[in-house]
Symmetry: C2
Subunit: 159 residues, 2 copies
């Protein structure tokens, strides 16, 4: 590991640790007040929006949630017809969860709702900063998703 890379890693960690509670502030409260889903169920819906189909274990792994919690969150989403259970024909122990059309529509609507306050604050930024934010947020999202995938494949997750 090069010295230059170490510096990049250190400052990335420093920045990401600061970003986390700031984003949390932006979204968690709106999820509670503006939707009838709890935050956990919405995160499950979000990860299914990205992957379409995941087993119960994979969901728990990707969101670092204990399995029993995943069960209860998925139960709520099923009650709302946002996701559905599919039995895996190759291994009948596995329960695959797929997001439904309604789930996709609802998720998009919820995203609009919970981002209203953030949108108001973003509208006050300069055009230049908005450009920077759009580009930087895309880069971080892509890298985190890439890491999520590689992490998932390792032995430390979904053991």
């Amino acid at each position: 590991m090069l010295e230059k890379n170490k510096i990049s890693i250190d400052s990335s960690i420093e920045n990401l640790i600061s970003i986390h509670p700031l984003l949390s502030k932006s979204f968690t409260k709106s999820i509670r007040t503006k939707t009838n889903l709890n935050p956990g169920s919405l995160y499950v819906l979000g990860v299914l929006r990205r992957h379409d189909i995941l087993s119960m274990s994979e969901i728990g792994c990707k969101l670092s949630m204990p399995k029993p919690h995943v069960t209860s969150l998925v139960d709520k989403l099923i009650a709302e017809d946002m996701v559905e259970r599919l039995l895996d024909p190759k291994d009948r122990r596995i329960v695959n969860i797929r997001i439904t059309e309604k789930g996709i529509d609802d998720f998009n609507a919820i995203k609009l709702e919970i981002s209203q306050e953030l949108r108001i604050r973003l509208e006050k930024l300069s055009a230049e900063k908005l450009d920077i934010l759009a580009e930087a947020s895309k880069q971080i999202k892509d890298i985190l998703i890439e890491m999520e995938l590689s992490y998932n494949g390792s032995s430390t997750c979904c053991k």
Copy 2:
């Protein structure tokens, strides 16, 4: 509002909504397993690390926490000598909280602890991606902190 800005805002929101649970996954679990602070207390410590002194109301505002919760989280930090109460000489209703030297040291140590897993994953990234991540995360942090401040000044917060 220009059409170009709208597009930047929409895609920023889309990206930030995806980033949030991915970061949450990275940190929340390590906070529980590797520290004896609950996540809330650590967020309070983090915001005090950035601002040095804040009143109880300001802390609650910046972290979108109900006041009674702030009281209990600050109590825990005081018990650990990480922060201290200061009476405001100009308005004796106000309780200002200041991070101590020990609080700063502890926070830095905790940051190292809770970022270990993330560090392992970051080390697998290419040098090019690490550069991008370091730069992008700094840009986002700066913009979110700038918004935090302006948000704080508006009438919608700390009412």
